[in-house]
């Protein structure tokens, strides 16, 4: 699946490692939540960048003590209909201040890009090549947003207030 990062299709430098496979001595790896939590202390001291694939039915609070040692948190969309990872993303970004890569993985389609970006994702393992290619155009589709989220975009409510103030200042 193509990886979109920084708005462009990018080579994935992280190697997924299965739970029963041996870990490479160094290099960037992506492992499961279960494997990570099994020996979090040692794994987070390992040479090479570390990423964790977090299931969408597990409380992200368990991950919080380790956030500053993780280079990637990958949240799963087992189906594009299942929106639990949107909540996890916002909690990680907005409540726990996670600043590393937040990757959407699983059934990721172009029609979710705007929602995902707004929830705090900045990397996308996209299911279809054509969707990945359409990323830049798709995310520009909306210019008005009604809800405040951690992405810092100003809401329509506050934009109106600003417009009103600048109008009254100009009078």
């Amino acid at each position: 699946m193509p990886l979109v990062k920084g708005g462009k299709i990018t080579a994935d430098t992280f190697v997924p490692v299965a739970d029963d496979a041996e870990l490479p001595g160094d290099g960037a790896i992506l492992i499961s939540a279960a494997r990570f939590l099994g020996d979090a202390e040692a794994l987070s001291r390992r040479a090479g960048k570390l990423g964790v694939v977090w299931p969408n039915n597990r409380d992200v609070d368990d991950l919080v003590p380790w956030l500053d040692r993780l280079a990637v948190v990958a949240l799963a969309f087992p189906s594009f209909r299942d929106g639990r990872a949107y909540s996890q993303a916002r909690v990680l970004r907005e409540r726990h201040g996670y600043r590393g890569e937040l990757r959407a993985t699983g059934q990721v389609l172009r029609d979710q890009f705007v929602f995902m970006l707004r929830a705090g994702f900045d990397a996308f393992e996209v299911k279809k090549e054509s969707d990945a290619e359409a990323f830049a155009a798709t995310v520009k589709r909306y210019s008005v947003f009604y809800q405040p989220t951690g992405d810092g975009r100003i809401t329509a409510l506050h934009r109106r207030m600003q417009l009103r103030h600048s109008e009254s200042a100009g009078q």
């Binding site: 929106g83 949107y86 909540s87 705007v114 008005v144 947003f145 009604y146 409510l157």
Partner: protein, 551 residues
């Protein structure tokens, strides 16, 4: 009326353009039907028995005459010349072509109408009291808060893929016309002991397969905290709502399984961590929304104008006035309900010509404003009393002056097996038959207020659980049968009705309803004891006896 500005219009247009692209990708095969399904549902497009069905939002039930005319245009140009007003302040078109849907949406967008989130597993169209802003004694116009919620819930980046659909309703009156107790979140605007305005928040109400009356999760949430509190509820639901079983995925099941205290604690914990976030609303924001609602420049008019005194000599006018005209908060004005339940007609249907004519009458007599009720009727909210006689004649001419509001033939019904792919039984012909049986106004008036609700399947779009008499279509060995409940209600004292006995075949439903009504007439303590109160006092047994003694 609320005026959409450039920002709202831009968003709606961006949505139309996105949907146009999605339809194109579906038609080219780039999107599978499974992928497209969720996207079309989020734009109000269902695949029904015969064709695509298109559901358009009428947020909090308020329409301008310009918007109603545009709905008529869509009915005429893209459909078969009529539309169906539903129990959730939406209008549905039944015969629309997929390839033409983006054009229909673009036509609607020009007048600030959209179909965003009228279906799908997201927050749905926010509904409210159809008398909002004109009801005597309401705390304040609940549409200001409804509009705040409309904006907040539209294309929410966290809650567009919930476990199941999610419905809000809001009222600011003591008498609940918005059925808030049978919604996922019900909001009742009221004043606390300190005189501050805020919301009682109810959660977990709903009908369908497992009906529940909503429970109070918090007696008072200040307006400043409304969005953060709602977000906390939705986040808890998004995380913990069941996704393994579609029938157990609504928030009512989560609330029921956890218990309201435990659920409330989860929400409180979540809320306390975010109540001071960007979701906190200050008074300036509320005032800004309030300032974009315009209200009519009412005249100072006499309570009883000459025109009304004169018309009172006409018994037909008086009959209509007593049934369909309601008290307005401003002296000299009335709220007029237009019945979309003519004798022998499908409840809630209006033709394009009727819609155009009603739009013209709204311009002439109601400051260009129309309301849509969950009872599937329309209303003109600001009619000067002196205009009532002329308005009545005009409404009668187009067939929307049947004086049966709240009476036994003001039937609520879903489209049933005639249109809906989910239905097990017909609803419309039963409703039509009941309007014929109770066509005599004197009889209906003698019976008094009595709500009949019909659903063609367990999904309960006709809200049968909360009908004073509820009729639910079921299928047995390939035949249509109907379960009958009594004692349900959807107001501030909402209750789920009780089944009176075994289901009856299609051909007997109207007879059974007549039996129930006759039993009530014989059993009521006084002529002014309502059907619903007689059932409350006596229980179902005497009704069961009357219906099944001879069957």
């Amino acid at each position: 009326m609320y005026a959409y500005d450039e920002l709202d219009r831009t968003l709606i247009n961006e949505r139309v353009s996105e949907f146009r692209d999605q339809v194109k990708r579906r038609l080219s095969g780039e999107l599978t039907e499974d992928e497209f399904k969720m996207l079309r549902l989020q734009n109000g497009v269902y695949l029904q028995l015969h064709a695509y069905m298109f559901r358009v939002a009428i947020p909090y039930g308020t329409l301008s005459s310009v918007q109603l005319r545009r709905l008529a245009h869509v009915a005429r140009k893209y459909d078969r010349g009529y539309g169906h007003f539903t129990t959730r302040q939406n209008i549905q078109f039944n015969w629309i072509k997929l390839a033409e849907l983006p054009d229909a949406l673009a036509d609607l967008a020009e007048v600030g109408i959209h179909a965003m989130q009228t279906s799908g597993n997201n927050t749905r169209n926010v509904t409210s009291d159809q008398w909002a802003g004109v009801a005597p004694g309401e705390i304040e116009d609940p549409r200001i808060w409804s509009e705040l919620l409309r904006q907040y819930t539209t294309l929410h980046p966290e809650f567009s893929f919930l476990p199941r659909k999610f419905k809000f309703a809001i009222t600011a009156s003591a008498h609940d016309r918005a059925a808030i107790k049978v919604h996922d979140i019900g909001l009742r605007l009221h004043k606390n002991a300190e005189g501050e305005t805020g919301f009682e928040v109810l959660v977990g109400g709903g009908l369908g397969r497992t009906p529940f009356i909503g429970k109070t999760i918090k007696p008072f949430v200040h307006g400043h905290d409304l969005l953060s509190y709602v977000e906390a509820i939705l986040r808890v639901y998004n995380q913990y709502g069941r996704r393994d079983n579609i029938y157990k995925a609504r928030i009512k099941i989560l609330v029921h399984e956890l218990g309201i205290e435990k659920f409330a604690k989860e929400v409180e914990d979540e809320w306390l961590q975010m109540r001071d976030s960007a979701l906190a609303i200050d008074d300036a924001v509320i005032e800004d929304i309030r300032s974009r609602f315009s209200y009519p420049a009412y005249e100072k008019l006499p309570h009883m104008p000459e025109e009304l005194k004169k018309a009172a000599h006409d018994p037909l006018f008086e009959r209509w006035r007593k049934n369909s005209v309601f008290t307005h908060k401003v002296q000299g004005y009335s709220i007029v309900t237009l019945s979309l339940k003519p004798v022998g007609g499908p409840p809630g249907d209006a033709t394009a010509d009727q819609m155009d004519a009603i739009a013209d009458l709204a311009d002439q007599y109601s400051f260009g404003e129309i309301r849509v009720s969950h009872e599937q009727n329309l209303a003109l909210p600001h009619v000067a009393k002196r205009d009532l006689p002329a308005l009545w004649k005009a409404l009668d001419k187009i067939g929307v002056a049947t004086p049966n509001i709240n009476l036994v033939s003001d039937v609520i019904a879903c489209p049933g097996l005639d249109y809906c792919s989910l239905a097990n039984a017909r609803s419309i012909p039963i409703a039509q038959e009941l309007t014929r049986r109770f066509a005599n106004h004197d009889t209906a008036n003698l019976i008094g207020p009595l709500h009949i609700n019909i659903s063609g399947c367990i999904n309960a779009c006709g809200h049968h659980h909360v009908g004073h008499i509820g009729i639910l279509g079921v299928e047995k060995n390939g035949e249509e049968f109907y379960q009958i409940t009594i004692g349900g209600r959807a107001d501030e004292n909402a209750e789920v009705g009780t089944l009176i006995g075994p289901a009856v075949p299609y051909g007997e439903v109207a007879d059974v309803v007549e039996d129930i009504v006759e039993a009530y007439l014989a059993l009521r303590a006084r002529p002014d004891e309502l059907f619903i109160d007689t059932v409350k006092r006596l229980g179902v047994e005497p009704f069961r006896e009357r219906v099944y003694a001879t069957r």
